[in-house]
Each structure stands twice: as C-alpha cells, then as structure tokens.
Symmetry: C2
Subunit: 642 residues, 2 copies
C-alpha cells in the first residue's frame, strides 16, 4: 500500500459485499460506478437486484434520491454525476443503505461549484517548498520540476474527492512562477494527463494562470486587458486548452496581490482583468475564478488609517455588476487571511450583482499546520450559516452563488495530510460544500465511522479529541479575534509581536494599557461600517460585539470586562491555561486508541499530539508572559507566568 | 577591470614610479616584491638605488625597519615576509617613504598570527547562501558546487591582505557541511590550487574541518578523540595535506556548537578534542584553532538561571593548562555574539595557561550587513586595549597570545565588500592585528588616503562619515548594551522581541517597569563574577557600570538615572532620534563626494546610505514605539513616537 485509504477503506463497503446491483445506462461515470461496485464485491444483476441505479433527468444535475421499495434500494439520479454521488451515499449510509429507513429526500448539492485549490509548485520554491503552505510532504502532481510520470495517486485522490462531492480542482499554485506558467501552453499535454485522472470521477480541472502570461508565454509587449492582441492571445490559448481537454473547468487568478501581476499595471481595474479571461473562456463554457484577496502588503505600521481588513471590500464593491456572467469573484471567509477567528468578510454581503465564491482553507496554515489536531467543520459551518443582514437575511452559503473553494491539505505523505486526523477536514469541506446545513458534529461522526469502522469506544475517543479542537486551538493562541501573533513567514508557533511592525497590515497595538484594533466608524478605521445592519451597529460598540471578536473591532483596556464577566487580561490568562489543559486531555485520551487503530497511524497521531502539547505550552507561556509584562496585572489565580 | 582595487589603486604607488630599487637575496616573497616594484614602474638597480631592500635575520621574523641615509631608503627585513611588509610600508607612506622623515623604528607585528576566517560554502546553503553571513555576493573561492577554475581573484585578494599584514586564511565555513568536508581529502588538490594563490604573499591556508570527519570521510564507526583509530585517521589525513601543501597552516574547528559535532558526543571534553587534532598537526608545525563559541542554543527562555553570556567561560576555564602547545582557543571578543556593544569576554582573562586568539567579525552580521556604513576600527581598538584586570594588568591584545582572527567581509561583488566603505574594515583589521596600538582614526585616514588619493576635502567627507559611524549605528539600534533586538535568523533590521522568547539565550526582559538583564552576582546570573577585579565589582553595581553596558549587566527601571543624567527611557528616545539625524547628515555629507570618486562607487554608496536612512528610521520608530507602549512614559521633548 503506497498510501492510506482515508475514509474509503475496504471495510467501508462491507455492507455491500455479495449484494447485487443493476445500473441502467451508459457513460463514463456510470462505468466508474460499476467498477466501484465490483471493487466492493457486489454482483452485477439484470433483474431482482438488491440495488438499482437509474437516471431521471427531471431531477436535475448532480442530484439523486434514494427510494426503498419491496426490499430494493433504488438510486434515481438526475445525471451520471448524480448516480456517482448516489453510489457514495450508499457507502456512507452503511447497513442503513439496504434497510427500510433509507432517507428518501431529494439530495441536491447546495452549490454547483465545489472546488479544491492546490497551491502546488512544480519546481520546489526556495522558501515555500513544493506545496506552498503544504504540511504533508511533496505534491501528488509534481516532482523534481516535472509532472509526475505516475499519476495513479491523483486517481485515488479523485475518487476520494468524488465521494464527498468535489467537482472541480485547480491543480497549481495561485502564485504562478515561471515553470508553472507553462502548464497553460507548452505543457498542456501534461495537464491532459492530469485531467484523465480526474475525468472518471466527474471532476473538472482548472489552472491557475499568471496575468502576465501574454508577456511571459506569448512574447507580447503588454498584458493590458483592453489590448486586442492580448485578448486574442488569451482566446487562442484557451481554445487550445479546450481542444485538448474538452471538460476543462477554467482559470484561477490571483492578480495585483502580494507581488503577482495584474490589471493595475495598465491602469485597468479588476473587472477589466477578469472579463478579459472570461471572454476567452465563455465560448467553451469555462469559468474564471478571480480572487478578491487584494490588499497593500507594503503598508507602513505607523499609518493607523490604513486597514488591511477594509481592502477587499474597498477594491471590489465599486465593481459590482461589471463582471461577466462566467466570472466568479473568490472571497476569503474573513477580511484578513484565514485566522482562527475572524468576522465574516463583509464583501460577501456587498456584491449582489456578482457571483461570489466563498474561499476556505483546508490546509492548516494558521491553525497548527497539521501538527495540531484542529477540526475545522465547526468554524466553516458557522461562516456558512452566518447571516450578514440579520436573522431575516440570507446566509453566507446562500450569498455564495459561485460556490465554495478551498485550499487543499494533501501531499505525498502516506496519510495524505501529515496528521491523520486532518483527513477529517478534507472530508468535512466536501460534505459542507454539498450541504452547508449538515451539523458539523454529524459530519465528523460520518468521517469517523467510515475511517475507523464500527468501534464505539474509538469513535468516542476520536470525536472527543476533534469535536471542539478548534476552540481549543483558539484558546491557546491569539486571543479574542485579534489574530496574527505567529512567527512571520512560516506562520507556525507564537510570536506576539511577530507582525506588529510589519508591512503586512497585521497589528494588535498592545501597549501597557490595552490591546486590540479600533475598527469602529466613530473612532477607528471604519471597517465596522462595511457591514449591513444589524452587524454594523453591533460591531461598532464593544458592548454588543461578541467577546470572541471584541479585539478585532476594538482597542480595549486590559481591565475591560467581557460579557463572560472576565476582564480582557484575565480572559487571556484563563483561556491559555485552559487550552493547554485541554491538549493534555487530548493526549491522555488518545491512549484509548492504542491497539484500536493501525500502529503507524497511532504513532503518527501520538507524535503530533506531543508536538501540539509542546507548542500549546509555548503559546501559553509566551502570550501570558507578554501580557503580564505589559499590563503588570497578575493572574487572579496566581498561576505561574514567566 | 573585474573588480575594484580597494586600497591599492595604481595611484597608490605614484611616488615610486621611475625610482630605482635594489632587492638583495632570493626567494618567493622577494620575487613578489620585485614584481610589485615593476608594477609600480620602479626600475631595478644594482647600485645607487633610491630604495634598497635587504635581509638581516637578527631582526626576527616578519620584522622590518626603514633606514634613511644619504638619500637612500633602506628596508632592512628580518626575513622575506618582513621584506614584503616593508615594501607595503613604502607604499603606505607615500612621498614620505623617500623623504628624510621616514619613521625609523623597528616594525614588528604584535601578533604572530593574523588570520581571516572565511565562512564560505561550496554548495549554496538553502538558508545561509554561498557565504554564511556574507553580504558581498558569492564566494571568491567557490561557485556552483566547485572550487572556481579561475582563482585569479584570490591572488588579487592575497595581495591586498599581505599589504596589511594578514598571514593566515581559513578558506571554508566553520559550519562544515558534507560538500565542504571533502576539501580535507578528496578535494585536497583543489586546496592546493588555492594555496598557490596565497603562497607568493606569505599567507598560509587553513581548513575548517568537521569533528565527525573520521566518520563522514573515513568510514570509521566513531569520532571519539581517545580512539586510536580516530587519532591515526587524523594523523594520516593531515600528513597527506602537508605532503600536498607544505606550508599549510592548520585546522579550524567549531565543535559542539550550534549543531556541529564535537567531543561531547563521546563524553570527552574540548581539550581531548583539540589535542586530538593538535597531535596530528604537531609533526608538521600546524596549528589547531578551536573555537570557544560553545553554548546551549536550545535554551528555555522561561529559565532565567541559564545565561548564554556565561557559557564560554564555564566550558573552557576548567580546561586551562590542558591544551597542547599548538592549540589556539579562539574567543569571540564578547561573551555573546558580535553585538554592536558587549563587554569584553571574561574568558580572555581567565586562561593564563592557554594560547588564546581574539575573534572579531569584519563581516557586518550585526552591524548593518554592509548596507550601513559602520567603521569598526574604534570598537576593535577599544577591545584590544581593554585591561580586564585594571590599569596595571595586561591588555586584551597582550592576553591574545594566539593572535587575532576575524570573519572576512569579501565576496565576488565588484567592490569586494558590497558597501565600498566597508573595505575600510578589512583594512583596519589587518593594521590593528599588526599594531593594536595604532589610533583607529589614523588607520582610517591611511585607508582613505590610499583608496581615494590626495583630495583633502574628499578625505574630510569620508572621515566624517566613517569615524564615529559605529556610535551612530549603536545609537539607533539596541540601547545600552542590551543587544539582540534584530530579526531572527537574518539579523538585519529591528525586531525588539525577535529573540525574546527564543531558545538562543538572547533576552532583554523588558516589561512595563524596566528592561535589561541582571547579570550581577548578588541577584542575577553571576556573570559579572567571571571578571577579575576591578571589573567584577564595577559591573556588579549599576552605579559603577558604564552607561553603555548598563542594560547588559542590570535590569533597571525606565526611570533609572544614568551617569549621563538621563533616565533609561529618555536615553532610548534621545539616542534613537539622534541616530537618525546623524544618518541624515551622513547622507547629506556624501553629496560632497559626487564627482570626486568614480561614478559607480558614488552611486553604490548613495544607494546604501539611502537604505541606511530608511533602516535607521525603522529602528528608531520601532524601538521608541515599543518602549513608549511598554513604559507609558512620554518623550520629554514631545517628539513623534507612534
């Protein structure tokens, strides 16, 4: 075995072994279902099958419904993809799939686009390595400067993604270096090979491209989006892609951001830029994903008027309505950058005339880098269900007409994700993209049951470790939403002042009296004013800002009393001591898993938990010491702070 | 021209052109003198020469004396090296060399060993690059994983070094990686080529070696210094080196330090380790330089009892008297690591039975990395003249029986040193190694006159920029000797808390009340007790500790009044505002040099001064803001702090 099977071990189809199946219809994806059935040791049948799968176009794309009648479970699917997803529902349901309590409702994805972005480089980047923000070894796509000759692991990955409903994958880093840029042209035949691995699983391949490609690859003197030759170059390049890959998904662009080229160089705006590519893609049904992650990363820390949190909104809202139909503006869930706690990005509620995608991060850049067990289903669920305009308004999920996109966390590590328990995040992202209303705790249990089989004690252990692990991580890192107290560059481990005097726009302004960023309209940067009511008013006032975000919106004295009844500084002390104790319990609890999971998995998780405990202790001591030294206020409970 | 000529431009020998010279005797170095004379367009003569050079062994090695009689300048030299150094004295003296006021005293180096260490890697290191702590481009020795085919620049370098009296060079980094380790064995023929470049200039080549070489290169199971096979391996390896390079200088070792292997792995001590190599070298007259830079770099910041400043003394003083005669223990000038201001290392006064070398750093790792103009002659002079046992005791220079060693600052940059004005540091190191009593300001003027020729206004400008540039740099960086407020790893630019929670043992302990490290015996780490009297008592008490070191030895409240009459915090504010103003004056002053120096040199210095001003401003603002936020004490003069 060259890799772990994640949530599709052989045992996951035990309930189907020896049963009979009839699949009506022809097609690539139906063939995939037949191969999956054979793999599960089901027997083909023409009549009297235990399970039947057939198509009914009236259900609509990607949709299926399970019907149990006369001892037969019938999967009725709107199209081939629906059949494939229905098949995996049978796997997920276990024995229930063949029982009379099969859930019978129509099962339709909430989002048509459910996408994973890979920040994989072909050449190893001197600083960022093979996979930018990758914590799971090398790339499954690339090695030693080339696309891998053996892409079979990509096929295994595609199967896993399809089983949780992912239908699009961007296969290279949004920071497009010279080597990766060539995927669009000279190395297109290599992308063809990658697409062949994804195609049987209903997954379309996307490419990240450089906005400067007409110069870099085409030898043109400009990349000006309003230049006719530039437009023609893109049209020709895209046409060649579709000739080679008819089901190609589209292009992903990070422009005018953190050093990447973009339309600003030509005095154009992001609508000009995005529409340039959109028009090249439109004849072929392709999509351009255009990232809204645009901000000034050479900010002066002395200038308190500039606020990075404002940037995406300020850049993009004036462009609302100007983007072509096949442009999706991809918006990070928070206004900063995947911090453990951020408010929902107000941009998501501010572009009614634009298709927006919600961008999440499965890779744990700021949440422990797959050294720490941090299950992200809960924060994602909170974001998806958040209603920026209050209880009567739409949820973020509903606002994200362009679907969901997330940065993947897999690599060529045996367990795919470095930390075996981080597989749960990949699983949860797929499932929540399909149905954002799923309870994250239930999704976690699905993953546990598939991965670890029927062992209630083990399930309790793993659930106990992961279910509130996000809150645990939050409790020992940056407090109350203030974010960015990490080591610069690598983003692992504490450095309270690490970004305090940096050009990246990431500050907490702690002094001897207080800490936090005043983002109110009245006295601060005005960021709170980017929200519609009721949140605009709620965030404006510390009294109505939720505790967990209060330092994101306000600079408060250490003695300020939170809704919890604690002062700010006592909250910092308490949560940090508590966080380490929670990790100690995780470590102790994992001992229950010994002998119940494969030894290699047990050891890997044990090692990482030991590192998590070491790291959490370091976080606790540095953060508490920092605030004790600054505030001079002792811990009410007299615990040891250095 | 592939490189700048530093302090030996053609014009430096104008006063000798057309004059006649007679050199008596034969030998490689005398041939060098003859070639230099021809290069200066002197004419050979047998009688009636303007200048004569001859040997008189009674003067002793490396020594010379100028005698002016009957219109002839006679260089009487104790040996060939003395003749070469005498020649360069003629160059340095300018017209005075041929006048009746030739200085007539015997000119003998204060130190027999005057050495430069190169931290050059052969392979480019992923983090440290080609030259570790190199700020002047690539290595002049190595390129693309090999010793350069064309080593002519090494020959030019050797000439420059000989002109200031350097007589030994270690040609590879003390952090010996796998590739560099092979210089000792497989690649010895390449070292032969390097030695050929140095030999005509009286310079002996040394190699840095890995203590694990018997394992790495010899395939032995151990590097235990008491193992007979290990000793034999070293003896054989060294014998092969001397067969190839009869004037080989010896070996340089960084052992049990920052991850390098050493005798501790075998339960042996540093005397065992050093003597192992010493015995291999002794039959050939070779020297082992053994670095005393040994400390715990995985320290816990929570543990205030461990003090990195104590480490070298604690490790080495128990070994005094146990080192073989041909071991030189190489001691950094301060107890930490080349900070801009440190007290003199007490180890220098604590090993009367051991040959010690004083280690300095010409490369500006912690002093602006050759982006900032920082002339180091003055601090070196202070160290060399410091008397650890008080006014009646010996100077550091006198205690350094093993001579001086310093990390070089050159690379393949056109100007050799990145910042053209940093050439002055290489010059000053050589001159002060020869004669530590030279006034640093006079050495600076020598360098200016040689480099820039006879232009009094330009000389004033350059002198004005460099003479107190060290104090300027100190004034805008870490205050009052506390050190280490730099960005971790790269060590450029401010990061006040950058090392505050690190394992490297580099802390300032700033809190809302005060800052500094208590190293007293009474209440601190006891480091002050490592000094003999009177310094032990002086450093013990803030009242008798010099201001510039007071935070190195004491943790003091911000309101503590210094000898200067200022409070600690007001000193911080004042010195940082003042430092930037001084840099502004440097920038303005350099404008005087326009048109008086070559354009490329003018531009290079201008660029660097602009960067120095930017960086100094950043230092000022970050340090001042940090201490204002922490102390809450406003600037008495109401200047802007952020």
């Amino acid at each position: 075995m060259t890799h772990h099977e994640m949530w599709l071990p052989e045992s996951s189809t035990d309930h189907l072994r020896g049963r009979t199946l009839r699949v009506d219809g022809e097609g690539v994806l139906l063939d995939t279902v037949r191969r999956e059935a054979a793999r599960a040791a089901m027997l083909p049948a023409t009549t009297d099958a235990d399970v039947t799968i057939d198509l009914d176009e009236s259900l609509g794309p990607e949709t299926f419904r399970l019907v149990r009648r006369d001892g037969v479970t019938n999967v009725v699917a709107g199209d081939e993809r629906g059949a494939l997803y229905g098949w995996f529902e049978l796997v997920r349901l276990g024995a229930r799939a063949l029982g009379d309590d099969v859930p019978g409702q129509v099962n339709r994805p909430a989002h048509a686009m459910r996408m994973l972005d890979h920040w994989d480089n072909i050449d190893v980047h001197p600083v960022m390595g093979q996979v930018e923000r990758g914590y799971s070894g090398g790339s499954i796509f690339y090695d030693a400067g080339e696309v891998r000759a053996d892409l079979s692991r990509v096929g295994a990955y595609a199967r896993l993604l399809a089983s949780v409903g992912i239908n699009r994958v961007a296969v290279n880093n949004v920071n497009v270096h010279a080597r990766e840029a060539r995927l669009l042209t000279d190395d297109l035949h290599e992308v063809v090979r990658i697409a062949e691995q994804f195609r049987p699983w209903g997954i379309r391949v996307h490419l990240s491209v450089s906005f400067a490609a007409p110069i870099l690859l085409g030898g043109l003197p400009t990349s000006d989006p309003l230049d006719a030759e530039v437009a023609q170059w893109w049209a020709d390049a895209v046409a060649r892609v579709y000739e080679a890959i008819p089901d190609f998904g589209g292009l992903l662009v990070k422009a005018d951001s953190e050093g990447q080229p973009g339309p600003f160089s030509y005095g154009r705006d992001h609508a000009d830029g995005a529409n340039l590519l959109a028009r090249a893609l439109a004849p072929h049904g392709g999509i351009v994903h255009w990232r809204a992650f645009v901000y000034n990363h050479t900010q002066d820390w002395r200038d308190r008027s500039t606020d990075r949190a404002r940037a995406a909104f300020d850049h993009f809202t004036p462009l609302d309505g100007r983007f072509d139909e096949n442009v999706v503006v991809q918006v990070k869930h928070g206004p900063m950058d995947f911090q453990v706690r951020e408010p929902v990005s107000p941009l998501l509620a501010a572009m009614p005339g634009t298709r927006l995608a919600l961008e999440l991060q499965v890779t744990q850049e700021y949440s422990g880098q797959q050294q720490h067990a941090v299950h992200l289903g809960r924060p994602w669920s909170e974001v998806l269900g958040f209603r920026p305009s209050g209880d009567d308004g739409p949820t973020v999920s509903e606002l994200a007409g362009g679907g969901l996109a997330a940065v993947s966390n897999v690599g060529d590590d045996f367990f795919w994700t470095g930390h075996p328990l981080a597989q749960s995040n990949l699983y949860a992202f797929g499932r929540l993209s399909w149905d954002p209303q799923l309870a994250p705790s239930a999704v976690l249990d699905e993953w546990i049951a598939l991965t670890f089989g029927d062992d209630p004690e083990l399930a309790r252990t793993v659930h106990g470790i992961l279910d509130d692990s996000w809150e645990t991580y939050e409790s020992y890192t940056a407090p109350l939403g203030v974010g960015f107290m990490v080591n610069p560059g690598q983003h692992y481990g504490p450095s309270v002042d690490g970004y305090e005097y940096s050009p990246w726009g990431t500050y907490h302004f702690a002094d001897r009296d207080g800490v936090g960023v005043d983002r109110s309209v009245a006295t601060g940067t005005g960021f709170a004013g980017q929200y519609p009511e009721p949140w605009r008013s709620r965030y404006e006032d510390p009294a109505t800002t939720p505790d967990e975000l209060v330092l994101f919106f306000h600079h408060l004295p250490y003695g300020h009393r939170l809704h919890s009844g604690k002062t700010v500084v006592q909250h910092i002390y308490d949560s940090h001591f508590d966080g380490v104790e929670r990790v100690e319990r995780m470590v102790a609890s994992w001992e229950q898993a010994r002998g119940r999971v494969p030894d290699d998995l047990f050891e890997r998780v044990s090692e990482r938990l030991a590192e998590q405990l070491r790291s959490a202790t370091e976080w606790r001591d540095q953060v508490n010491t920092y605030f004790l030294r600054k505030s001079g206020i002792p811990d009410e409970r007299g615990r040891r702070i250095f």
